[in-house]
Subunit: 338 residues, 2 copies
């Protein structure tokens, strides 16, 4: 198709291998010849064929990002991290290929096959996949360097990256306790996600340490959606009217709930305090501004790239979790002010 190393060689009446040397390495070529080669390469519009180079070198510099096909509305915040992830990988000379996987039609071995057919040097598994999905074990047991999100499938060549979920939730609920709340509800997401179980654990530990008896009637499991959060909150408050605060394990449910409750004349935070989780960028401008647990999606992008590079360099898998920080805003206020 386009101009190759041979064309340049022919044009200059020299050998392709000389051209190759001149264009890449720094050693072993006469300065004069190199200059000429460089110049005609430019003139002829030569662009190296990366694929061919990969083939002969047996090295692709390619990293795969596996994303699960997910239903609308349950979107993970991962895509905030993608640009930074891609950029950082670029700093290490890696390129990124996106691989979609349908969790439902996933076939055994598919992961490795996808990796090997593209000659991936590493992979990043973003999900979402439920915690027992086959792909997790395939990823974590494989010899291919990989970084998985959230689910703690650490392997010898597999690092897990995520957040201190339990701690984040603990901080959130503890904040409510400090504000004087004692009857604190929980609206959780899918229990088959690690993050949900951990957030639940954090909720529970905060109550325990405060000497408050855990009541399962104060718990609802929902679907991470706005409508789901609304429904769960409504039902929770109807059944357990003494509840004065609710911790939602994501912001979307929290907002859905606040919106719905206010429609019914239940005011947040006056009648009930609310804390969310995620730190969606919009929370700051929500009405009321949402108290939430802030994740750092951008930083996660950078750290993911770094973790993968470490693995590729020969490191061994580990668990990397990042601090989540409670952002105190107006949706949670002292109990006494009711």
């Amino acid at each position: 198709m386009s101009v190759s190393i041979k064309d340049i060689a022919k044009a200059l009446n020299i050998n392709p291998s000389t051209v190759s040397r001149a264009l890449q390495g720094v050693y072993g070529v006469n300065e004069e010849t190199r200059r000429k080669i460089r110049q005609t390469a430019k003139e002829m519009g030569y662009v190296p064929n990366i694929g061919a180079r990969e083939l002969v070198k047996g090295k692709t510099n390619l990293v795969g990002i596996f994303i699960g096909i997910y239903e609308k509305g349950v979107r993970p915040p991962f895509f905030e991290t993608l640009p930074l992830l891609n950029q950082t990988l670029g700093l290490y000379g890696k390129e990124t290929i996106i691989l979609s996987v349908d969790p439902l039609t996933y076939k055994k071995g598919q992961y490795m096959e996808m990796c090997r057919s593209r000659g991936l040097e590493g992979s990043i598994v973003m999900g979402p996949f439920d915690d027992k999905h086959l792909i997790w074990s395939e990823v974590s047991n494989s010899q291919l360097p990989s970084v998985v999100f959230d689910e703690p499938y650490v392997g010898r060549r597999c690092t897990c990256i995520g957040t201190f979920e339990e701690q984040g939730a603990y901080d959130a609920v503890n904040h409510l306790l400090e504000l004087g709340h004692r009857k604190i509800g929980l609206v959780n997401g899918f229990p088959d996600l690690y993050v949900c179980r951990e957030r639940f654990a954090g909720y529970r530990r905060a109550l325990d340490e405060a000497g408050i008896l855990f009541k399962s009637a104060f718990i609802r499991e929902s679907d991470f959606s706005g409508a789901g959060g609304a429904g769960a909150a409504r039902e929770l408050l109807k059944r357990e009217p003494e509840i004065t605060a609710i911790f939602f394990t994501n912001d979307l449910m929290a907002m859905g709930a606040i919106s719905a409750l206010q429609t019914e004349g239940i005011s947040v935070p006056r009648d009930v305090s609310v804390v969310g989780f995620d730190g969606l960028f919009i929370g700051e401008f929500y009405n009321p501004p949402l108290t939430t647990v802030q994740l750092n999606d951008q930083l996660i992008g950078i750290r993911t790239a770094e973790a993968l590079m470490e693995l590729i360099a020969g490191g061994t898998g580990k668990e990397v979790r990042m601090e989540a920080s409670l952002v105190r805003r107006a949706s949670a206020i002292p109990l006494s002010s009711t």
Copy 2:
């Protein structure tokens, strides 16, 4: 490294080309041999090397997605579209590689070089890049099939995909007019983006058709951020207190403004009606639920893939714009109810 077509051939004492044939095409191989080949291939854990195949076929099946490095907070909604885009492209047998471009350090010819070195069959340019950025003309003038977002750089092999921005804005402002508003402010984003100019045009046309004199004092240019929207709205209402409604050219600014105004005791929609633009998923649960112009990011992902495939099949570039639909919620109400 791993098992190749040769290894299988050797194991079966046959020729590599026979193996190749058996594994791909459907014609010209004895059923018995094919079966044996298939089986040992499986047993040996053979996975085809796509790179090698590409090289010999001179065909990569690779599509590049160019994203601009952007500042935090000005994030485009594009990443909602990426999964669907990737999936749809997959249906056509294409794979997707992500290419980050720093708009500031961009060098002439970089676009083509990136495309050619990877042997891309097509590209999708998501931006954001300002409307006069060099990359646009390089993309639209190149012979490589490409789809660009928003900015109307149509070329013979370059399709532009986007939304009927002007119409969307017109509908939004018209809605306010129908509600009885006459003094309608506009808070716009960066004027060097096509979408902003168009949304402005829609605002203006709606006023014109209603016979309302356009007043530049009712216009503010901001930065698409929540804080920016807040500042612009505050200033606008201070200088022009007769304004009863504001159209924001994105939801984030609208929400930032609503939040800030309410802090100052100015209620939305009671004191001032607000319409946004984008249809962020959170708008439905905002308080008040945000009236906005809904973009269909997911559909755009599908359409983009289709448009690119059409181009790759030999089609010529065109402009594809999709309907944006006004979603009437509670942030804009009749003037009389004030």
